[in-house]
């Protein structure tokens, strides 16, 4: 059964097309990542799923309901953690969780939920006096307080320190283990690789890839690379003739062999056969970031390098 179904989704803001013919399904109980650079249409897509925006075209269904027409019904089963959505700033953590609990018919015990997101010590602290990471954790607690069957988390670890980030990812994993369907928007590959069963890659308002994280790397056609250093020369033709090996490049004493499939075994055996002493042998597997670069010609994280 699909918890979320999106078909032919389109949304324009004035002259700019934010989302252009996006379609995907999310199986109930799965964790799906929505990955893409800024401006790819991630937030617009999830806002349409959350019923915050009316699509210009296409259909969106959450547990079979239209999030725009059946807003009330969808809000009862959907938990949303939004980017840059504030709360009553003069209320305390406990007051806010209780308020949002009261807005739902069914829900979790506020004190327990505050404990789960690690805010027990800040339970009596006003929202405007929480740190960014604490505010973020509170917003996740509020997304969960109504015991939703589907949760949308938009950039949930932005502004968190490494420890809080790890705790937050554990929390999401726990939700998924409880059978909640999670749609996770992110531009961090490590989060997606760790949590997601499936990843949708958005670029310029379109889905450019829809696969499991390993499949996405495969779809980008990126193979493995094996690197090592060797003192003398070696029989490069014999290496190139090995199954799967595509190229052999020598730079000084360093050799880089790239290709598809499991390269390390055959290469190791060949080096032993040639009597070559290889040092610093290591294998490089492509990441989602490499896959993204390959599929879109651009880096996912603008900080990691200029656009190709």
């Amino acid at each position: 059964m699909n918890a979320i179904e999106v078909r032919g989704l389109r949304k324009r803001y004035g002259d700019r097309t934010a989302v252009d013919d996006v379609g995907f399904t999310v199986a109930a109980g799965s964790v799906t990542g929505v990955l893409g650079p800024n401006g790819a249409g991630k937030t617009t897509t999830v806002e349409c799923v959350a019923g915050l925006r009316r699509p210009d075209g296409g259909t969106v269904r959450v547990l079979g309901l239209d999030p725009w027409r059946d807003r009330r019904a969808v809000r009862a089963v959907l938990g949303v953690q939004l980017q840059e959505a504030a709360l009553h700033d003069m209320l305390t953590v406990t007051e806010l969780v209780r308020l949002h609990r009261a807005l739902h018919r069914d829900g979790h015990d506020p004190a327990r939920l505050i404990d789960v997101v690690g805010l027990t010590e800040q339970a009596g602290t006003r929202f405007d006096r929480l740190s960014g990471g604490q505010q973020q954790r509170l917003s996740v607690a509020l997304a969960l307080v109504g015991r939703p069957r589907v949760v949308i988390l938009d950039e949930l670890t932005t502004g968190l320190d490494p420890r809080s980030r790890a705790e937050m990812l554990d929390l999401v994993q726990g939700m998924a283990d409880d059978g909640v369907t999670v749609l996770l928007v992110s531009h961090r590959m490590d989060e997606i690789e760790r949590l997601c069963d499936r990843v949708l890659l958005l670029d310029r308002g379109r889905v450019v890839a829809d696969a499991d994280p390993a499949g996405l790397v495969a779809a980008a056609g990126l193979g493995e690379r094996v690197r090592f250093r060797a003192s003398g020369d070696l029989d490069r033709d014999a290496l190139r003739a090995l199954p799967g090996v595509g190229s052999v490049v020598r730079t000084g004493a360093e050799f880089v062999l790239s290709g598809d499939g499991d390269l390390l075994g055959p290469i190791g055996a060949e080096l032993v056969r040639q009597g070559v002493v290889a040092t610093g042998l290591r294998i490089e597997r492509p990441t989602l970031d490499d896959a993204f670069l390959e599929l879109t010609g651009r880096r996912l994280d603008p900080g990691a390098g200029a656009a190709a």
């Binding site: 019923g51 915050l52 547990l63 309901l65 009330r72 809000r75 009862a76 939004l82 009553h88 109504g146």
Partner: protein
């Protein structure tokens, strides 16, 4: 998804529970109580006006105001309109504009209750604050200056309700149009001081040039003061101020509903 499951989702959990209203009103009450300036000024300024009128009004010839004092006929009505103006024109819109600006309305938009009930909760708390402010002013007037009840109690209560409706409707229109919290406060204060100046806050409005006095008389401040003055004197209020309050309420409500932006 099967049809039966769809039915459960739509009918079983669609409506927000009654506890949502209680919780939202409690939340707004806490927000208002913790906003010190917004809490104290609407309670303090009317008292200041009362004390000024009560201590500086010249003695009148007997029977000049049907036996009522200037404090009752001018001081209390102006104090009541001041509370309404500060809370209705300024406080309520500043909270609502802040909620829109900071994303509170957007966040409530993804809860089963939706964003609209928070408007009603904020207005309800504003009404309560008005009741406290006017009650306080009346209590001080009675205790410190020997004021009595209005001659026409129902006219006074009706005038207060109608006045409150007009002030809050304009406040909601300000909240609908103001892009920021500061814009809402600025617009609210300009409206408050403008209608107040034309409506008798700074002295007898009949001293104003003819057309200005007439306009001031039908705007919320002057109209509320007129109806409350009449109530203390036991006179029947004129039609124009009463109509002014009704028309303001209707027009401002419709415009607010038409133009209110949730984000």
């Amino acid at each position: 998804m099967t049809r039966t499951e769809e039915e459960t989702v739509t009918t079983g959990t669609a409506r927000p529970p009654a506890s949502a209203w209680r919780a939202l009103v409690a939340a707004e009450a806490r927000m208002v109580a913790r906003d010190t300036a917004g809490l104290v000024v609407p309670l303090g300024l009317p008292l200041l006006i009362l004390v000024m009128v009560g201590t500086t009004a010249p003695p009148l010839p007997p029977g000049a105001l049907d036996g009522r004092t200037p404090l009752e006929v001018f001081g209390l009505p102006v104090a009541a309109a001041t509370v309404l103006g500060l809370v209705g024109f300024t406080n309520v819109p500043s909270f609502l504009a802040h909620y829109r600006r900071s994303g509170v309305l957007r966040r409530l938009g993804v809860t089963p209750a939706g964003p609209a009930p928070v408007l009603a909760a904020q207005v309800a708390v504003g009404f309560a604050q008005v009741a406290v402010g006017i009650g306080l002013a009346f209590g001080v007037a009675v205790v410190a200056f020997g004021a009595g009840a209005p001659a026409a109690v129902w006219t006074a209560l009706g005038g207060l309700l109608l006045g409150a409706a007009a002030f809050f409707a304009v406040g909601l229109l300000v909240a609908a149009l103001a892009p920021t919290t500061n814009a809402a406060i600025a617009a609210g204060l300009v409206l408050f001081l403008g209608t107040g100046a034309l409506g008798g806050m700074f002295g007898d409005p009949t001293a104003l040039p003819g057309p200005l006095a007439e306009v001031g008389q039908v705007l919320p401040f002057g109209a509320t003061v007129h109806v409350l003055s009449a109530a203390w004197l036991g006179a029947t209020p004129e039609l124009a101020p009463v109509l002014g309050l009704v028309v303001t309420t209707v027009l401002a409500s419709v415009a607010a509903a038409r133009w209110f932006r949730w984000e």
